[in-house]
Amino acid sequence: MSHTVLVCDDAIFMRTMISDILAQAGFDVVGEAESGTQAVEKYRSLKPDLVTMDIVMPDMGGIEAVREICKTDPEAKILMCSAMGQQALVVEAIQAGAKDFVVKPFQPSRVLEAVQRVLG
């Protein structure tokens, strides 16, 4: 059975790209979120095996979303998607409970490596 994934990013371009990379690798992208609030809601309803999370999103940011999700599910497997130069934010996300991170621009191989690590 393939792993289910929730992809969270405010840019359609990024969501599409990540979804494509994962789908091609055999993952089941069960949902997409374009804000932190949506991400938290969809995580609760979809209970995906994995979440990819953008850091900067409108309404609720990715870090806040991580915090919210981990409140109810400390074992949530969240992969942060960060842009260059956001190291401090990435660290904050890790402290909040994110399990790994990838840095844009994405290289498909790195994204998949990270996903594999997070899923163990």
């Binding site: 260059m84 190291q87 401090a88 660290v91 890790i94 690590r117």
Partner: protein, 621 residues
């Protein structure tokens, strides 16, 4: 912040660390495979760097930083250690020592460009730029944290060089490790990692029930991990010595305290005499009580001044190593009894004599490897520095298994100067010592085998005697030479036997009194044309104190006590007019006036306020 007032502390602490660096380097050099010393070295250098930076001593901080880079590279296996590395590290420790001394003395010495280049090259390339003082201070802080941590496993993690956001990756690795245990320290600090102020290598200390393999596996799930290595706790942060509550006290202050106690003892003795005369029970009782209190106080003051001889010994392994290197010899240097304690002021004075004797042993005692082998000995010579505690003294022994002193050659030289009619067979160890301890003996010496043997022996002799100690030599041709230094446990206050001769009183330090016997004229005999006494079937050379001090006045009483003096295995009988009991005396430093006989070791004030001379037992033998 005005840091100037911390200069003395900086200097003292830096010296301690430098000394321990030498020690660790020596250990490591003995066994390059055992990298246990590396962690300690790194910590010491790191501490000096932090202190130097805090003091604003950039020369110290920069040199320490470069050394740290090299040590770090060694620690992470990025470069391997070889003979040259040790030499370089020894040089660097020396240079750092000079930089520390210079800086503390207000001289900012120039940096040694060649050394800098050598350190950089050895570390595998130019180091990252020297961080500014603030960063270094930060480094010191987190160093503190890490060493204060409880015991546990040390894990070194290397993040791949091509990884992006290596700092965040490193933190992720720490988080992974935390899932299997408690991480007590992270170096560099998390804050530094977040700012990516590191080179991809981090070390964490943690306690975990998981196996190394399990830990490594979980840490690797952080991704981009190039290597995970484990070190025994001792190698990264050796178990900190047990924490005692301690304060540093200026030795001058302890000296003043000791002097005060000395005065107190004199006053107490006087009070005791008055009380005994007064026939006033309350006064006698009070006097006795004060006597006990002062004794207790004296013991405490002496104890507070006691320092392990190891503090002085620890500089010698390095000396011997350097000497053997320079001389092309192979020398094993062993130390025994480092824990034996001596009064700090004696300890401070004993370093030089030991230095001279050890240097002599390495230079003139131990033969070259081929010479040793031809003589049927192992190619590696041995020098032993040992301390042992005796009754009221400490014996320091410097032994070598070298060629020993060539008595024939020594005699030939002495005869040329027309000073002896002895033969090699009759030349005793004492005679040998007398000859080689003559000032200028070495410089005049051209005789092979003993050439230079006297270097410093006269100096050592003078120093040791000034401490109220004695120096002896035992030498056997082909087998080696042993020097024995005997010093009192503490200066200033000694228990003495008071003796009278010709109406004058003299104090004999009890440390050298074996026993007292009644003088028996029938036991008088002769030994080498000198008067001698037979005491317990032993023939002892005899000295009459009256004759010695040219005492006139009343004739000697018929019944005379005899004090048997003992220094090492040598004994002599000192015949006196009367014995007046024991007393704690405070020996005043004695700048012997010209013409003062050698048997006078000092002066003291007796309980009744009268002065008395203190006899130097060694000079009477």
């Amino acid at each position: 912040m005005d840091v100037a007032k911390y200069a003395a502390l900086f200097l003292a602490e830096s010296r301690e660390h430098l000394s321990s660096c030498n020690q660790l380097l020596l250990e490591w050099e003995q066994d390059p495979a055992a990298a246990d010393a590396l962690g300690g070295l790194f910590r010491s250098i790191h501490t000096i760097k932090g202190m130097g930076a805090t003091m604003g001593f950039t020369g110290v901080a920069e040199l320490a930083h470069r050394m740290e880079n090299l040590l770090d590279a060694l620690r992470h296996g990025l470069v391997t250690v070889d003979v040259g590395t040790f030499q370089l590290l020894f040089q660097a420790v020396d240079a750092l020592g000079r930089a520390v001394e210079d800086a503390a003395a207000g001289r900012e010495g120039g940096s040694d460009a060649a050394l800098t280049v050598a350190l950089e090259a050895a570390a595998g390339g130019p180091p990252e730029g020297v961080a500014d003082v603030a960063t270094l201070v930060e480094g010191k802080r987190q160093h503190r944290r890490s060493t204060d941590a409880p015991r546990g496993r040390s894990v070194l993690i290397v993040i791949r060089g091509d990884a992006v956001m290596r700092g965040a990756r490193a933190i992720l690795a720490v988080r992974r490790a935390e899932t299997l245990g408690v991480v007590s320290a992270v170096r560099p600090s998390l804050a530094q990692l977040e700012r990516e102020e590191f080179d991809g290598r981090l070390a964490i200390r943690m306690e975990s029930r998981a196996s190394d393999e399990e830990l490594a596996a979980i840490i690797r799930t952080a991704g981009e991990v190039e290597a995970v290595r484990f070190e025994e706790p001792s190698s990264w942060a050796t178990a900190e010595p047990e924490r005692h509550r301690q304060i540093r006290i200026d030795l001058d202050r302890l000296d003043r305290l000791m002097k005060q106690v000395g005065e107190l003892i004199v006053a107490k003795n006087q009070l005791g005499v008055m009380a005994a005369r007064s026939d006033d029970p309350p006064l006698t009782e009070l006097s006795d009580r004060i006597t006990r209190l002062v004794s207790g106080m004296q013991a405490e003051v002496i104890a507070s001044r006691m320092t392990p001889v190891g503090e002085v010994f620890e500089r010698f392994p390095r000396l011997v190593r350097d000497l053997s290197r320079d001389l092309g010899k192979r020398i094993r240097f062993d130390v025994e009894g480092e824990d034996i304690e001596l009064d700090r002021s004696i300890l401070d004075e004993i370093g030089d004599p030991l230095l001279h004797l050890i240097r002599n042993a390495a230079d003139h005692g131990i033969e070259a490897p081929d010479v040793r082998q031809q003589a049927g000995k192992s190619a590696e010579g041995r020098i032993l520095l040992a301390a042992t505690r005796e009754r009221n003294s400490v014996t320091l022994r410097v032994s070598d298994d070298g060629r020993g002193i060539d008595r024939a050659a020594l005699l030939a030289k002495v005869r040329r100067e027309g000073q002896s009619d002895a033969t090699p067979e009759t030349l005793s160890d004492d005679d040998v010592l007398r000859v080689i301890a003559r000032p200028g003996f070495s410089t005049a010496a051209t005789v092979s085998g003993v050439s230079g043997r006297g270097v410093g022996v006269d100096v050592a002799m003078t120093r040791v005697r000034a401490l109220g100690g004695t120096l002896e030599i035992r030498s056997e041709a082909g087998r080696g030479t042993t020097f024995l230094i005997r010093v009192p446990l503490t200066l200033a206050i000694v228990r003495a036997l008071l003796a009278e001769a010709g109406g004058e009183r003299y104090a004999v330090p009890l440390a050298y009194v074996a026993e007292t016997v009644e003088f028996d004229p029938r036991a008088v005999t002769a030994l080498r044309n000198r008067e001698a006494l037979v005491v317990r079937e032993q023939v002892l050379p005899t000295v009459h104190l009256r004759d010695l001090v040219n005492a006139g006045g009343r004739p000697a009483p018929a019944r005379r006590p005899t004090v048997i003096l003992e220094v090492g295995e040598r004994r002599t009988a000192l015949v006196v007019d009367a014995l007046l009991g024991q007393q704690d005396i405070v020996v005043a430093p004695f700048d012997a006036p010209r013409g003062m006989p050698p048997y006078v070791g000092g002066a003291t004030i007796l309980a009744d306020g009268a002065p008395a001379l203190v006899l130097d037992a060694a000079a009477l033998l």
